[in-house]
Amino acid sequence: MKWAYAVAAVGALVLPVVLAPGQLTVFILLGLSAMAVVGLSLLMGYAGQVSLGQAAFTALGAYTSGLLSLHHAPPLLALVAAPVAAALAAVVVGVPILRLRGHQLAFATLALQILLLSVLSGAQWAGGAVGLQGLPYLSVGGFELDQDLDYAYLVVGGVLLVSLIAHRLVHSRVGRGLRALATGEMAAEASGVPVGAYRLLVFAVSAAFAGLAGGIYCFFLGYLAPGSFPVLLSIEYVVMAVVGGLGSIAGALLGAALITVVVQLLTSLATQPGMPSYAPSVLSYAVYALLLIAVVLFVPKGIVPTLRRSL
C-alpha cells in the first residue's frame, strides 16, 4: 500500500499546478468533501452510527466563519471557530440523539439538517435564502489567500490534518475502545470503555472535520447560501464513505476522489446541449443510488479494506 500513498501525495502536490482553472475548483471541492468523509467514516466505521445529516455541520462551520468575518473577526480566528462551533453543536444535539440506533439515528440527523436549512433560509441575520455575500478572503499575517491555487494547497493541508488526527485517534487507547464498542458494546463497556462519552467524542470529531471543510469553503467561495448544503451533499458523504470503506482513512480519501470524478463526468454529460433541465439532479441521485447498491452487493466492506485483504 506504500506506493498508493506516495502516488496520492505526489498527486496532491502536483495536481493543483497542472490542473485547468475549472478542474482546480473540482479539486478543492473534492478535498473539502474528503475532510468531511474522513470524519463520517470514523463515525460510521468505529462508533457504528450513521449520519444522514453530516452536511449540516459543514453548513454550520461555513456560516460560523462567514458570520464572524462579516462582523470583522480576524479571518484566521473565523476559520478556527468553524470546527469548534460544529463540534459544540454536535455535542449539544448528540446527547439526546445518540441514544437512538441505526435507522432512527440516521433519520434524526437528516431531520436536523432539514431543520437547520430551513432556519438559515428564514433567518435575517444569516441572509435568508440569499445567504451571505461579500465575504473576505482568508488572510494569515498579512498574506491574503486570493488565488484558487492557495486554496488548493490549504485544502491539501486540511486533508492531511484531519487524516493525521483520525489516524492518531484510531491508533490509541481511545481508538481501541471505539473499535471494540463497534462490535461488542456490552463487553467494551464492561472493560471500562465509557461507551456514551466515546460515541459523543467521535460524533464531535466528525462534526469538527465537516465544520473545518465548511470554514474553508466559505473563504474559497466568498458567498454562502443554504442551497450550498443540500441533503444531497450529506448523502454524497455517506456514499463516499461506504464506497471507500468505513473506518478506513485511505478509503475515505479514495471514496471522495472517486465519487467526485464520477459526478463531474456525469454533470458534464447532463449539461450537454439537448439534455433536459432535470438531467443533472436525476443523474446524480441515480448514480449515488446505483453506486451504493453496487458496493453493498459486491464490495460490502468498501474498496480499500477489500484491497488490503487481497494484497
Partner: protein
C-alpha cells in the same frame, strides 16, 4: 475478613414476573464462588445486576465496602470488576492482542487529546498497556496467536481471550458467565485449568455456570438458585446432598 462483594436482597422484576427475588450472596477475597441453577433460575439476571447491565428493582450491591448498584458498567470496571460474557463475542476486526489491550481501559486514562498530540502521557500508557497485554496473553496461554484476528480463534480460545482481556485490567473480582458452555472436552479442561491457576493466584472469582462437574472442580462455595431464589448455599460437598437442590437441579436430567 470482610467480603469483597456483597449482594443483599437483590430483586429484579420484569413486569409482574420476578426473575430474582431477595437474593443474598457474597464473595470473600480470594474465593471462587459459583452460582448454579437450572435454566431460568435467574443466574444471568444476577450476573447482569452485578455487572451493571441491569438495574435491580430492590436490594443493594456493595463492592469493597461501597455501594455500586447505581454505577454505570464502565465505572464498575474501573473499580476492579472484570467480566467475561458468555454470549458476547470477541471484538471483531481486531487482533487477539488488541482485544486484550481493550481490557486495560479500566486502569488507564489517557484521553483523545493526548492521543492526537501524541503527548508523553500517551506514549507512557501505550508502553504500559502493551506490557500488561503481553502478560495477560501469556497467563491465558494465547501468546502464539497474539497477532491473529480474534474472530479466527476457536471458541475455547475465544473464551480464554475474554479472560485475558479481563486480566489486562488487573481486576480484583472476575465475573465469569457460563465460561464452559459450548466448549468441547479438552477446551473445557484447558479453561478450568486457567481458572484454577487464577484462583491459585488469589483472584476473587464469581462463576455462573450450568456445568456441575466444572463447578465441583473449581468452586470453594456454591449458591444454588431456583426460580429466582436462593435454595442452598455452601461448599459443593454439602449442597450436593441438599434435598431441595437435588429436587430442583442435580437430580434432574442435566
Amino acid at each position: 475478613m470482610p467480603a469483597l462483594l456483597t449482594v443483599s436482597g437483590a430483586t429484579r422484576r420484569f413486569g409482574g414476573v420476578y426473575a430474582l427475588r431477595d437474593v443474598d450472596l457474597d464473595v470473600a477475597p480470594g474465593e471462587t464462588h459459583a452460582v448454579i441453577g437450572p435454566n431460568g433460575a435467574g443466574k444471568s439476571t444476577l450476573f447482569k445486576l452485578i455487572g451493571g447491565q441491569l438495574v435491580a428493582t430492590a436490594g443493594t450491591i456493595a463492592y469493597d465496602g461501597e455501594r455500586i448498584d447505581r454505577l454505570a458498567p464502565h465505572r464498575r470496571a474501573r473499580r476492579g470488576i472484570a467480566i467475561a460474557f458468555q454470549d458476547s463475542p470477541v471484538f471483531r476486526g481486531m487482533s487477539v492482542a488488541e482485544n486484550v489491550m481493550v481490557g486495560a481501559h479500566a486502569i488507564t486514562s489517557a484521553g483523545p487529546m493526548s492521543a492526537i498530540l501524541r503527548l508523553p502521557r500517551h506514549r507512557r500508557e501505550e508502553t504500559r498497556i502493551r506490557g500488561l497485554a503481553a502478560q495477560a496473553l501469556d497467563r491465558a496461554g494465547l501468546s502464539p496467536w497474539a497477532d491473529q484476528p480474534a474472530e479466527s480463534l476457536p471458541l475455547g480460545r475465544q473464551r480464554a481471550l475474554q479472560v485475558a482481556r479481563a486480566l489486562c485490567g488487573a481486576p480484583r473480582l472476575l465475573l465469569l458467565d457460563e465460561p464452559a458452555s459450548g466448549l468441547r472436552g479438552p477446551e473445557r479442561s484447558a479453561l478450568a485449568a486457567l481458572i484454577e491457576q487464577l484462583r491459585g493466584e488469589g483472584l476473587s472469582i464469581l462463576l455462573v455456570e450450568h456445568d456441575v462437574a466444572f463447578v465441583a472442580r473449581l468452586a470453594d462455595r456454591v449458591t444454588v438458585l431456583d426460580l429466582g431464589q436462593v435454595i442452598a448455599s455452601g461448599p459443593f460437598a454439602e449442597i450436593r446432598t441438599d434435598s431441595a437442590v437435588v429436587a430442583a437441579y442435580l437430580g434432574g436430567p442435566t
